[in-house]
Symmetry: C2
Subunit: 736 residues, 2 copies
Amino acid sequence: MNTRTINKGIFALLLAVPTLFTTNVMAQELKKPTLEDLIPGGETYRTTENLQGLQWWGDVCIISGKDEVKAINPKSGKETILFTLETVNRALKAAELTELTQLYSLKFPWVGRTETLLPVSQRYAVYNWHTHTVTSRDDLPKEPAANYDYHTVSHNLAYTVKNNLYVNGLRVTDEPEGIVCGQSVHRNEFGISKGTFWSPSGSLLAFYQMDESMVTCYPLVDVTTRIAEVNHVRYPMAGMSSHQVKVGIYNPTTQNILYLHTGDPTDRYFTNITWAPDGQSLYLIELNRDQNHSKLCQYNATTGEQINTVYLEESHPKYVEPQHPILFLPWDDTKFIYQSQRDGYNHLYLIDTKAQMYPDKHAAPAGGSYRQGYKVKQLTQGDWLVQKVLGFNEKKKEILFTATKESPLQSNTYRVNVNSGKLTAVGNNEGVHNPLLSASGTYLIDRYSTPRIPRNIDIVFTMDSKIANLLVAKNPHEGLEMPSVEVGTLKAADGKTDLYYRIVKPADFDPTKKYPAIVYVYGGPHAQMISNGWMNDARGWDLYMANKGYILFSLDNRGSSNRGLEFENVTFRQLGIEEGKDQVKGVEFLKNLPYVDGNRIGVHGWSYGGHMTTALMLRYPEIFKVGVAGGPVIDWSYYEIMYGERYMDTPQSNPEGYQQSNLKNMAGNLKGHLLLIHDDHDDTCVPQHTLSFMKACVDARTYPDLFIYPMHKHNVMGRDRVHLHEKITRYFEDYL
Amino acid sequence: MNTRTINKGIFALLLAVPTLFTTNVMAQELKKPTLEDLIPGGETYRTTENLQGLQWWGDVCIISGKDEVKAINPKSGKETILFTLETVNRALKAAELTELTQLYSLKFPWVGRTETLLPVSQRYAVYNWHTHTVTSRDDLPKEPAANYDYHTVSHNLAYTVKNNLYVNGLRVTDEPEGIVCGQSVHRNEFGISKGTFWSPSGSLLAFYQMDESMVTCYPLVDVTTRIAEVNHVRYPMAGMSSHQVKVGIYNPTTQNILYLHTGDPTDRYFTNITWAPDGQSLYLIELNRDQNHSKLCQYNATTGEQINTVYLEESHPKYVEPQHPILFLPWDDTKFIYQSQRDGYNHLYLIDTKAQMYPDKHAAPAGGSYRQGYKVKQLTQGDWLVQKVLGFNEKKKEILFTATKESPLQSNTYRVNVNSGKLTAVGNNEGVHNPLLSASGTYLIDRYSTPRIPRNIDIVFTMDSKIANLLVAKNPHEGLEMPSVEVGTLKAADGKTDLYYRIVKPADFDPTKKYPAIVYVYGGPHAQMISNGWMNDARGWDLYMANKGYILFSLDNRGSSNRGLEFENVTFRQLGIEEGKDQVKGVEFLKNLPYVDGNRIGVHGWSYGGHMTTALMLRYPEIFKVGVAGGPVIDWSYYEIMYGERYMDTPQSNPEGYQQSNLKNMAGNLKGHLLLIHDDHDDTCVPQHTLSFMKACVDARTYPDLFIYPMHKHNVMGRDRVHLHEKITRYFEDYL
């Protein structure tokens, strides 16, 4: 390359005879990707091709595109155009409703009816593509509302305005500031993501009410107003007073509210609400504040009284974590599916409510225990875990779900027969699948990627195999010079557990060179950095840095997800410590690679990964030369109750753990260059973490660096994400 | 040095014959000073020797030391010990009062009486060293109070508890939060530094009452509490609603309060309160919000009515700035001294209240004007200015004061005869003097420093010359290797004005080398970086950096103090712009020096200097490579009303000026490395400046650096000041 750069004349000559220099010319044609190409929010960011608006209408596959809606017969793969944007807009105009600019977000909940649910100003209208008319619509006042929950059978519409609940235009609750109704509670932990729950017929609405008035506020300062203003957010910190939750049931006919008679809600979590199929009662999983005991409870929806039966209770010396509402079998209202990690992995259990038993206490592994008042059949088992239940095949009496059975790095589809317990794989055994099951359970829209396939979408017959391909996405990096990605395993610090790592090498990798290496780390529960999806989940910045001449390395340490409970809970009451030991194993592996310069090891991560980055810089100052920690947890006592106490208990009950994991206590250890980045509107990991760490370092006379992104929340998203990564890049370029 | 380093053997040999290499051996013995040696707050910080507790007791000089109090006869210089700590403590113990650990803060207000005022728990006790007893004391409840104002004749004691005023244990005012009584107002501008004013006999107390309830609060977040808390400070930003001030008069005998009948206090500044010698009336200088018109007003202390006489009014198209209360001649209650810049320099004017005249309007230079209703005699004049009035010599009918007559870099002492107008210098004509005048005006305690003298204290006979020397301070840098300091002048950007610069060169300066240079800048009004005091005011960090191989340079640009009104007000309505042009002249001078590397110019400053640093980095990105801006003003609309509107008017009336000086609008120009440092409790220049600048840079995709010192105010003081300077040093070392 050098000689050519020196003599441009010769280079021009070489280009004139391209056949002789194919490889070189190819290399010339590839463009080095920029951060704008690789970081979401970048001006030239390359997304992977997709089919938006893909869904099932019963067993008919629908592609609700920009300008038209197509139906695909899953048996034949034959496409039919159902209607177009133009016809929809004609009907909307006639009904004096706002017209649409695309059809991506249409829904098809009415099987057998030629009707679709249109999102009109966030509420609803129903369009019949046979009569070309709007057949149903809301006529609610246009106040600023949120959390729309439309029931497709009753056409009832629940929503919230500020902190109160409304149904069909009527205000249901009238609570003062500090009490929130109809919204998600418990900071979205325990699988909770919404606050309203229609009964199967839509005649009753269960909803959460959360009293936060006793929760301290965290002050986030908005510097963009004329004079800075405080945005107060209720933030319950570990060990402090927590909010109190009630479950209400609203009857739109009588306009009455009934609150379940749960008793004093202090320090209790009401999670995973499910209606009984008959709409007469409600199930929820209650959890104590210590999060080591869960109980499936049933309440009478008419009286609000608890039905005094032991269904299922689970205990664990560390923690239990219910995350999935029970699911009744569509063909048998007396049986439901319960998901539990009690044997160490998340599996499916079938509960028969007709077969009552004496609720003996049973021992579970690792000191756990459970009681159950009914006959229970474990439907899946093994050292792998069920990830997502997709639905049922009523005819075959099967449940379909995704699981890690093939590899902890994968999500593949399986069906299990409820009667025989027979487990069968569906579709291919590669990659990471995120499928959609048709109404009858006969077909899958099988969306997946593998390390070499950015995205593939097939229609799959669940009893047999692939029927039709809907999309083979083009390589989004076409024309770009891309690094290589490898995945492997190494032993954890316990000497026995296999951990997965990913290594990203420059496109022009030269094994005789010595490269600086950067560890990208997350390390916390509920997440995994390495998968068998597209490019093994290597991030855009990893690829960018590899191209700049760094080895990028990630390792899913003990404590991370998809490996089962014991793998995860080894970190209990001492977050960051075992994880750090595993990351050091990763670095030892790295340093043994002949092409890694062991004196130039950097580390970067955000949130839990920000904690890990800071902790690694402080606990292993001799290993890590440069770190960039984003939105880090510094002191777990500043973190919120639900997530924090699950893993750390309270500062009162675990003072040693909080003390040992409090990075302020190690501020004096800082030797290398450490940049902390925080968003000033971070309401997940509040700025107090980073700012109090600055003070600790000043007190200890060490010298971290700092940057603050105003007005961003728990990460820097959108256009500014490119700025963030340029900032991070410069730090490593300056100091590593 | 190099050859010696290479061959240690030879070096050892040379050391064996020290007499031959005296100079080198001396150099070996000198220690390079550390930041701990040079920065206030450092563990080994070297202060200059001083005599604490030095003061006058009538015409007797008192040294109130740690363990004993000495009297010095100024005529003979003869010392006598008056009493000791031991005797004082014996009396305090007998009176059941807290004993003292030193005698530094004793006061001697009672001429001819053997009594001293003791500071006991911040209140008072009077000790008679003749009778060895406590003769007078307060017996007030011990609530947390502040702003003690003790009247030595009446023994009345005023103070504040929270926002209310108390006298002799009685609550005087009963105002809600948002209304402050008895404290300094108008953010200490206009020479205001306190909020209570006893009448000459102590029978009446004038006090400020400030209603801040209409002033917006700025939220400063304290991250050291369990969960971060907001400290709200009332901060009136330019162009917004300002506080409203009243002047009350409290009569301790009747316990009544009378508020002066000033009318609506909106947008009016009541400044420079003085009692008439007879205690029957009160003077103040009123200023309009636009600060271009001042008026000396007199109010009847019994009725509160204004006495309807035109005393003195001054106008200026830019601004007037009254900073000195009027001063009555001790020998003639009908005459007082008024200080004014109306001829372009601060001078003394004698007003004869017996000689009333028709108040014609008179023109003053640069479009200014004034009216006066009495005969006025200008006592001092010339292109120099009066700094501090020290007092009077009643016998000789003289006023004594310090002034810049010798040089704008100096403060020397003068006396002017009120009758003849004859001006005479007192003491030497060098350096910066900060004298204390004895009661009769016969003697000075003359404290001064020069570039070569760290501190000298003499007793001087004001009619003649020095009598006795009390202290020649040792060089505080003894044993340290110190850089050399030079001062000179260069032409401002206007091509005609002389500006003073200071240059600091490494101790081992080698004129054949090329050194990087750092400009330390302030640049704003009311301050001067260069004087003819000790080391020409070179700062500890300047000396430290020079020793590390940098040339340190400072220039007092137009806009800075001690050069007169026109020199200062050239920056009106466009702060930072003319100042920057002058600083560029300074850099041009620097770059012409053969030993300066013109490609390595850095800049550093705090507050106004932080604004200048940032502005220079953005307006002259081709000149300045690295900058460190501390507590910077970024947008003058975020600065407070009193100071900000004087120089910038309001954002409403000067939109172009605010727009042009708003550094956010230039965020995209950043090319070099710029570190902004802000304190999170900065209530002078609020953190919004720096944080909103970060956002502007992110928006403009430029890359400043940031650091925040939690819990510090408008600068980093105390122990952490060493950390700050290490941080700043590292930044220049990394990038310059």
